[in-house]
Structure formats: structure tokens, C-alpha cells
């Protein structure tokens, strides 16, 4: 520790003392946890109505909403990632038509609120038919899936484009020099790496998609927030149903984090974890440098 003290006297002052900074950090974090934990315990003991919390009627209503949200999330998630790949490919297209259309798509769906998009689809589109003639009777859930898919395809598309851009140009050049077509090189060489690069951003976006389902309450989808609002306005007790809401959303988002982590580990063949990883990480760079210099 003598070195630390020495360096402190030279320059940097207190911030040079690693152990002290570490202790302060631990103290702050511990204090934070204690304060929040205490508040939570206090709320749970004084505000939450145990009988209402355990009521099978309420549990049933929340569970039904939970299943609906999971269904909507799974479908919109698959659709938006699939569509997002095409949006991302459109973004890097060398054709000016495709490129501009993809850019316009992203600008629109990223640039307007999801709430607005949901209103357009749920309230606006059916009004294109005469009164009472709109053919889909239960439009709320389909409208929700369409809205979430269109919106999140834009974000996934940008993540994919970022992932592709992050792949060194040499990868494409090397593949082309082996006689591959551009499309084939993209599919077999660039995209697997781009996918890995984009995965964290896509996972992040899909978790936001889960939380975005809370907006669906305004188009009469009986999802989790909607159940909360109904119970709160009947029972005039916010905290008890809020506990349910918190637990259910975390159940979805945390298991989704697990899935994303798993996918990232699976595709993490490029890290410095093993021999192959080390090779594939460094060789493109050195090839690149060698080729250019």
C-alpha cells in the first residue's frame, strides 16, 4: 500500500487511494440498499393488504393478463426481430431505393410515439370502413401486435445495421476475393458476426418491448396495467395490486434477460475465451492491416 500513499502525495489527492474510494462506494451502496429495503418492508407491512394480495380472484385476473402479455410479447418479438433483419439489410443496401425506404421507415417508427402508432392502428384504421362494417371484431390484440412489431422492427433494424457496420470491411473483401457473391458473403460471413455484435442491443430492445405492452391498456387490451387500474379503482388500494404488477413484469423481463444471455454466450465464439476465439478475433484485424499497408 506504500505505493498508493506515495502516489497520493504526488498528485490526484484522495481519489488516488483505491481502498478508500472502494470503502466509500461500498458504504454508499449499502446505505442505498438499507434505505430502499427498509422502505419496501415498511410499505409491504403497512400498505399491502395481505388478504387482497392472496385473493385467488385477483391472482386469477393478473395471471390471465400475464398470459396475454406473454403471448403478445412472444409473437411481436419473433415478428419484430425477423422484420428488423430485413430493415437492417435494407439500410445497408447499395440500392438507393431500398436504402431510402428503409431509412424512411426507421425515421417514422422511431420518430413517432408508440402510443400514436397504436392509436392510428386501433382507432384510425377501422374508421376507413363504414360504421360497424370493420371486419375484425377483436381488433385490440392484433392491433397491439402490429403496432409493437412495426415499432420494434425499426429499432432492431438499426441494431442490425450497427452490427453489420461493426464487422471489419476486410471480412467482406476477403469473402469477395474468394469468389463469393456479395449476398452470399453477407449471409455466410458478415451476418453471423453482425448478429453477435447486435445481440445486446436487440435484447435490450426486446425488453423494452415487454414494458411497452403497458401502453396497450389505452386500446382496451386487458393486460397487466389494465388489471391494476381496474382493481385500484374498485378497491381504492394501489399498493396491493402494484406488488403483483412488479412481480409479473420482472418475471417476464428477467427470464428474457436469461434468454438473451444464453444467446450471447452461444454466439460468443469470437471472444478470447479459447484458442479458436483468439484466432478469429485477431486474425481478421491482422489480415486487414496487412492487406492495407
Amino acid at each position: 500500500m506504500a505505493t498508493h500513499t506515495d502516489s497520493e502525495t504526488q498528485s490526484g489527492g484522495v481519489l488516488m487511494r483505491d481502498r478508500l474510494v472502494r470503502r466509500v462506494g461500498e458504504f454508499a451502496a449499502g446505505g442505498f440498499v438499507l434505505a430502499i429495503g427498509g422502505l419496501l418492508v415498511w410499505i409491504l407491512t403497512t400498505q399491502v393488504n395481505g388478504r387482497l394480495l392472496a385473493s385467488p380472484l385477483i391472482a386469477g385476473r393478473f395471471f390471465e393478463a400475464f398470459l396475454l402479455v406473454v403471448r403478445i410479447v412472444v409473437i411481436s418479438s419473433v415478428l419484430s426481430v425477423t422484420a428488423g433483419v430485413f430493415v437492417g439489410l435494407g439500410r445497408i443496401s447499395t440500392s438507393p431505393i431500398t436504402g431510402r425506404i428503409a431509412t424512411g421507415y426507421i425515421e417514422f417508427f422511431r420518430g413517432t410515439p408508440l402510443l400514436f402508432q397504436l392509436f392510428v392502428i386501433y382507432f384510425g384504421v377501422p374508421r376507413l370502413w363504414a360504421t360497424g362494417e370493420f371486419p375484425f371484431q377483436d381488433w385490440a390484440v392484433p392491433a397491439a401486435i402490429i403496432g409493437l412489431t412495426l415499432n420494434h422492427a425499426a429499432y432492431v433494424g438499426e441494431a442490425i445495421r450497427g452490427g453489420i457496420d461493426a464487422v471489419p470491411d476486410g471480412q467482406m473483401e476477403a469473402a469477395r476475393s474468394l469468389g463469393m457473391s456479395r449476398v452470399m458473403a453477407l449471409r455466410t460471413v458478415v451476418m453471423p458476426q453482425a448478429w453477435r455484435n447486435a445481440l445486446a442491443a436487440i435484447g435490450n430492445d426486446q425488453i423494452i418491448l415487454v414494458k411497452d405492452t403497458s401502453l396497450l391498456t389505452v386500446i382496451a387490451v386487458p393486460e397487466i396495467m389494465s388489471v391494476f387500474r381496474n382493481i385500484n379503482s374498485n378497491q381504492l388500494d394501489p399498493w396491493t395490486p402494484l406488488v403483483w404488477v412488479c412481480v409479473l413484469y420482472l418475471a417476464i423481463t428477467m427470464s428474457m434477460s436469461q434468454v438473451v444471455d444464453g444467446l450471447e454466450r452461444r454466439s460468443d465464439w469470437g471472444s478470447d475465451g479459447g484458442m479458436f476465439g483468439r484466432l478469429s478475433r485477431f486474425s481478421p484485424g491482422s489480415t486487414d492491416d496487412g492487406g492495407e499497408s
Binding site: G132, Q137, A140, A220, P222, S233, P238
Partner: protein
């Protein structure tokens, strides 16, 4: 939320001698109208809200601003006209009661109906005027003024012959506004039909009306006056016919009525003195004809 006191340039105000109240926002002191309120207004002004709860004698006669929580739009009770000005039955009653009778300033604050009682008790505003039906559950949380309006829960359907009587509602989806007595009436009907009734709850009543036009629900259960305003604007929409609970009542609508309800102004439970004042003012505007004038403007002819 922006308020708009100036919209209500109605004749009755001048008859009350409260012309000052409408001239300019901020100019309507307690002095512009005579009567009981200005007599007491000598106390210190400022934060009269707290005082009124503790000291009944001082009451609330300082020219303070009464903030009114309301779920807007809910035509014809509170909604914005094409110019964006706040108008409606509740708005005019507020003008007559607070500006006219009590010499207070007031402003409307937009809020969601489903959390409106909690907001009141959290002191986000002082009172609720939002076409709110007096019922027991709500009365446990808030105190109501004397009723100032009678409403009936009614059923709106499309005029396509698919639903022509009460029994036809079994098995269909109905739209309601979340947290309203319309929703409660729908739940009662659902129980009566052994669960064979789908209920879709919308944030605002306009959402439920849209859903009816968009073929998302087959009927909307809501207060008669609001539904009537909507039906009048849309040719394809009619009230469901039939004898309802209000069939024997005078002045009751001739279409199916599910329940009878009275609207009240909601107060926090520690606001008794102010509630008494408002009750007095409500009685006064009923007596001098102001109430009938406002009523006539929105609901007759």
C-alpha cells in the same frame, strides 16, 4: 391544465352581478358579488386551503383558486369546443357556484377518471366535478355535495337491427369507460347473464364510442346524457329500447335504463365547511333559475 373562465359569457352571470368574474382571469375578487361570502372575506388571504380544514370560522372566503379535478373530455359535462375552450354543464355550474355565488376563482385540472379519488385525497386538486355519481364505495373515501344532476345508465347500440332488446345483450361485448358506474352496471349485467358478457374498458368514453363505430363492441353502457350527445351526432347509433328501472319516473328517458344515479361534487373528508358553502350555493342557483338555464342549454331543445 389551462383553464378557461372566459368561455362562459352567459347571460345569467350578469344577473348574478358577477360580471367581474368573467372579465379577466385574475380579476374576480370576492367583492364583485354581494351576499354571504364577501361579508367574511376580511381574513388574511393566502393559503386558505389549510385554514379551512382547521378553523371553520374563517372558512374559505379569501379569493383563492379552487382547483377542480375533472376527466375531460366527457361531453356534454366537460369537453373542449373547436376553439379548445373548456365548456360543458359542469363547467357552467362551476362558474355559477364558485365565481357567481362564492366569489372564488377556480380552475379545471384534467385527470384520469380511474384514479380521480386517490388524486383528490392526495391533494392534487381540491374538489372533483366530473359528472361523478354518488355511491357508497366512493362515499367511504370522499364526501359528496348535495346531488346536482340525475343520470341513468343506458345502452347505446348500432342501428342495424342486431340488438333490439335487453336480452340480446347476452353474449356480446360492451364498451365502458374504466372506473365509471357504467362499468359497474356492465359488471352487474355480466353477473345477471352468468358471465356471458364481454366488457372492454377504455380510458375515455370516446374510446368506447369509437369502438362501437369500429365494430369492436356491440354496445356502450354509459350515462344517458353523454350517450345522447354522441347519438345525436351519429346517425347509425341509437339507444336500446325497453322498460328500465326508471320507467315510472317523471322526466325519465323513454329508452332502457339500467340504473338511476345522482351526480355530486366530491370533497375531501376534512373539507366540511367548504362543502356546506357549496351546498348553499347549489341551492341558491337552483332557486334563482340559473340552474335551469344551464340545464336547458345542454339538455333540452
Amino acid at each position: 391544465m389551462p383553464t378557461d373562465r372566459r368561455v362562459n359569457r352567459r347571460q345569467y352571470l350578469s344577473t348574478l352581478g358577477a360580471g367581474g368574474a368573467i372579465a379577466l382571469a385574475g380579476c374576480s375578487g370576492g367583492g364583485s358579488d354581494g351576499g354571504e361570502s364577501s361579508a367574511e372575506s376580511g381574513d388574511e388571504g393566502g393559503s386558505a386551503e389549510e385554514e379551512s380544514a382547521s378553523a371553520e370560522a374563517e372558512s374559505t372566503t379569501a379569493p383563492e383558486t379552487v382547483t377542480i379535478g375533472s376527466d375531460i373530455p366527457y361531453a356534454p359535462f366537460e369537453y373542449r369546443n373547436e376553439a379548445g375552450e373548456l365548456v360543458g354543464f359542469d363547467v357552467d355550474i362551476a362558474e355559477a357556484v364558485f365565481a357567481g355565488e362564492l366569489g372564488l376563482e377556480y380552475e379545471f385540472q384534467e385527470t384520469a377518471f380511474d384514479g380521480i379519488i386517490a388524486s383528490l385525497n392526495n391533494a392534487n386538486f381540491r374538489i372533483i366535478m366530473s359528472a361523478m355519481t354518488i355511491n357508497e364505495t366512493r362515499a367511504e373515501e370522499v364526501d359528496f355535495s348535495d346531488p346536482y344532476f340525475t343520470a341513468y345508465q343506458t345502452v347505446l347500440v348500432l342501428d342495424n337491427g342486431e340488438i333490439t332488446e335487453r336480452a340480446d345483450l347476452r353474449g356480446v361485448d360492451v364498451g365502458v369507460q374504466r372506473g365509471t358506474t357504467g362499468e359497474a352496471a356492465a359488471e352487474d349485467l355480466q353477473a345477471e347473464f352468468d358471465g356471458e358478457l364481454g366488457i372492454e374498458s377504455y380510458d375515455q368514453i370516446t374510446g368506447a364510442f369509437d369502438a362501437l363505430l369500429n365494430n369492436q363492441v356491440s354496445a356502450v353502457i354509459n350515462d344517458n346524457t353523454v350517450s345522447a350527445a354522441f347519438a345525436a351526432e351519429n346517425d347509425g347509433v341509437v339507444f336500446l329500447e325497453g322498460d328500465g328501472v326508471a320507467a315510472d319516473r317523471e322526466n325519465a328517458p323513454d329508452y332502457l335504463t339500467l340504473t338511476i344515479e345522482e351526480y355530486g361534487i366530491a370533497f375531501r373528508q376534512d373539507d366540511d365547511a367548504f362543502r356546506e358553502e357549496v351546498n348553499g350555493a347549489l341551492a341558491a342557483i337552483r332557486e334563482d333559475g340559473t340552474y335551469d338555464e344551464i340545464y336547458g342549454e345542454y339538455f333540452e331543445g
